[in-house]
């Protein structure tokens, strides 16, 4: 609806503009003929005054060009400063609007072209370049900009420059006619600005209502989000467990158990080593590269080092996390099972599944809390925080355990299998 209104306003404005031209044309012609003598005198006076005020030297200049602004800032030898800009569809003299200058329009393009030339012109020639500039014809705003620039270059203050523009327009009957047209154009521009503003408002209102509609998707919105989260967690868990199962199945069991044993028996040491290791990963990587480069003969080794080192770190982190999960699952099984039940149910696969579930339990609980929406948002945040903290701790302990146990090959925490009774029995033989 608003779009229709805006086009209607534009059509009306165009019609009014056309009618005014038809009405004003003969009147302006008569006015021009009658006041020809006065005009000539006034123009001669103005030219005399202008020649008396030669352009002042430019001390410094600053020019900014961007998508929606073309700005010229000058400081003259006398210390006067002013800025002229075409910005966001308007021309300005020191922040005071001179009228509409459509982005990409003739005036905007001519002004940008002038400023681009000015950027490359030495200060000594800048004044002449700016003075020689003429705004595109049949453009009231361009004329004002041009006059403002010339007046300012003669050392007039912005206020005086503006007054000069208005004064010159008042003296010149032809200018009066063009001023009427200019005013009409300004009015059209204002209407167009209003239309633009209304369109902006409509866009804002639409965006807000869209945002509201997103926010008010009903009470089941949170449940849906939480279910999505839970499915995501289950997929992650399945991937981790799958990698763990593959590791165990293809002969990695002793390494996984080695890491798990180290993590259980030397938890604090593993954590500290893991934290230190995580800080040293990047320096070690870059020092390795530098050492290989400097040694010259080691340069081919970069082909192995550059992809191999990050891969080894990733494998170590994964092995460490699964080792910690294994250790957690084992600890939980020890707590749960009694007597022969241990032998029936306890194995590496079981430890891994339960351990990964345990490490991710905070995230699952957070998703359940999220189903209640804002009611339990604090609990949700808290559980997510603890979940992240637990994951970070598991990753650090795991990395440390991998480093201490040399990838599970030398599990330091594992106690030697020594059965004193057996030796005692041997002794009896």
């Amino acid at each position: 609806m608003l779009r229709t209104a805006s086009s209607t306003v534009r059509a009306l404005a165009a019609a009014v503009f056309g009618a005014t031209l038809l009405w004003a044309g003969p009147a302006l012609a008569a006015q021009g003929a009658g006041a020809g003598q006065t005009t000539a005198v006034a123009q001669a006076g103005a030219e005399q005054a202008a020649s008396a005020d030669a352009p002042v030297n430019i001390r410094s200049s600053q020019i900014a060009l961007s998508r929606d602004e073309a700005r010229l800032q000058l400081e003259l030898a006398g210390g006067q400063e002013f800025s002229l800009a075409v910005r966001a569809g308007q021309a300005y003299l020191d922040g005071t609007s001179l009228g509409r200058a459509a982005l990409g329009g003739a005036l905007d393009r001519a002004w940008r072209e002038l400023l681009e030339q000015a950027m490359e012109t030495p200060n000594a020639d800048l004044s002449a370049l700016l003075e020689a500039w003429d705004a595109p014809s049949s453009d009231g705003v361009g004329d004002r900009l041009d006059r403002a620039l010339e007046a300012a270059l003669r050392g007039q203050t912005p206020a005086a420059a503006l007054a000069n523009i208005e004064g010159a327009a008042a003296l010149d009957p032809a200018a009066q006619g063009s001023d009427s047209v200019a005013r009409l154009l300004d009015r059209i521009n204002e209407l167009e600005s209003t239309v633009d503003e209304l369109e902006d408002r409509r866009a804002t209102v639409e965006a807000r209502s869209a945002s509201r509609s997103r926010q008010s998707r009903g009470p089941f919105h949170n449940v849906g989000d939480a279910l999505e989260g839970i499915i995501g967690l289950l997929v992650t868990m399945a991937i981790l467990v799958g990698i763990g199962f593959a590791t165990i199945f293809f002969g990695g069991r002793k390494y996984l158990e080695g890491v798990a044993d180290t993590a259980r028996r030397m938890t604090v040491r593993s954590l500290l080593v893991g934290i230190a290791g995580s800080f040293l990963v990047l320096p070690a990587f870059f020092l390795g590269i530098i050492a290989l480069v400097i040694s010259i003969v080691g340069i081919p080794g970069l082909l192995v080092w550059v992809p191999g080192f990050p891969l080894a770190v990733a494998v170590a982190i994964m092995l460490g996390y699964l080792g910690v999960a294994h250790a957690a699952g084992e600890a939980m099984a020890e707590y749960r099972f009694r007597g022969s039940e241990w032998f029936h149910r306890a194995n590496s696969y079981y430890f891994l599944v339960s351990g990964v579930g345990l490490l991710m339990s905070m995230f699952f609980a957070a998703m359940v809390a999220h189903m209640a929406g804002r009611l339990l948002s604090f609990i949700f945040g808290l559980l997510m925080f603890f979940g992240c903290a637990l994951t970070w701790a598991a990753l650090s302990v795991g990395l440390g355990a991998v480093l201490i146990s040399r990838g599970g090959t030398r599990p330091l925490g594992r106690e030697p299998v020594v059965d004193e009774g057996l030796f005692a029995e041997d002794g009896n033989v």
């Binding site: 060009l65 961007s66 030495p122 000594a124 400097i294 340069i299």
Partner: protein
């Protein structure tokens, strides 16, 4: 071959985010006429892009042009009491094309200069030939810097201080700089100091290197004395004779102008190349 591949990969990595994000580029230029100025102090801080310095028109104290991402950076182009501050600051450049930005500065050949330039991931070309350099301080980050002194400095430069990060730094024509003292400190990088030119006085050079390669290019006829500290850094002393703790060029005593180089390097290589 490896280097070319690496360059292509890096270029692609830079081009992808550039294509992904539409950026609002802005060009800002500023200039000032010479107005009885007797000294221009210049401070530049530039994060990323291309940086150029060269001599300008005699009547123009300075002329600068900056092209920068308007969404990302705040430009600085301020002159007050003989001090010109230039640069762009602020902004998180991750995932943005910053290589298309530039900062160009031209200074009057008639006004003595004190330069303090600091830049980060920048490709810099500094032409100091034709300028009146009194002192220069250049700090580079992960960048490639080419400093050229193609014409003799009409002034005597008290000091040239260069701090090189993980960068490639090449200075050509240091003999034209007429510097009393040159101080270079490097982290990880490749530093080349070329002393060609028309020396007018003796120069003392101090180099502190962490890890990297240092090449000294010295024209024949210039007396050279090198004192090296750091047993892990290899030193190619071709054309130099060891006397006591120092290495001397054969014409050290008779040379009209002398260059004393004090090197403290941890790792890497040091090489002296003679230029005919």
């Amino acid at each position: 071959m490896f280097d070319r591949r690496l360059i292509v990969v890096l270029a692609a990595a830079l081009a992808l985010p550039a294509a992904a994000a539409a950026q609002d580029w802005r060009t800002l230029s500023a200039s000032r006429a010479v107005d009885g100025d007797t000294l221009l102090r210049v401070e530049v801080e530039y994060a990323a892009g291309r940086f150029e310095v060269k001599p300008g028109d005699p009547g123009t104290l300075y002329r600068t042009s900056m092209r920068y991402d308007d969404d990302l950076f705040d430009p600085v182009a301020a002159f007050d009491s003989g001090l010109l501050k230039l640069g762009v600051g602020g902004g998180n450049i991750r995932g943005r094309d910053v290589k298309s930005g530039h900062l160009r500065a031209a200074f009057s050949p008639d006004v003595p200069l004190e330069l303090d330039l600091a830049f980060g991931a920048v490709d810099a070309e500094l032409e100091l030939g034709g300028l009146r350099i009194l002192e220069a301080h250049i700090a580079t980050g992960a960048s490639r810097t080419l400093l050229n002194v193609s014409e003799p400095n009409p002034e005597t430069a008290e000091r040239l201080v260069v701090e090189v990060g993980a960068a490639q730094f090449e200075a050509i024509g240091l003999g034209n700089l007429h510097a009393r003292r040159i101080e270079v400190s490097g982290g990880v990088g490749d530093v080349t100091l070329d002393f060609r030119g028309a020396p007018r006085l003796d120069t003392s050079v101090s180099v502190r290197m962490g890890l990297g390669a240092l090449t000294l290019r010295v024209p024949r006829g210039l007396g050279v004395r090198v004192v090296k500290d750091g047993f892990l850094a290899g030193f190619d002393s071709e054309g130099l004779v060891k006397r006591g703790d120092a290495f001397y060029s054969t014409d050290w005593e008779s040379a009209a102008h002398k260059l004393t180089v004090d090197i403290d390097a941890a790792f890497g290589s040091i090489k002296v190349v003679w230029i005919d």
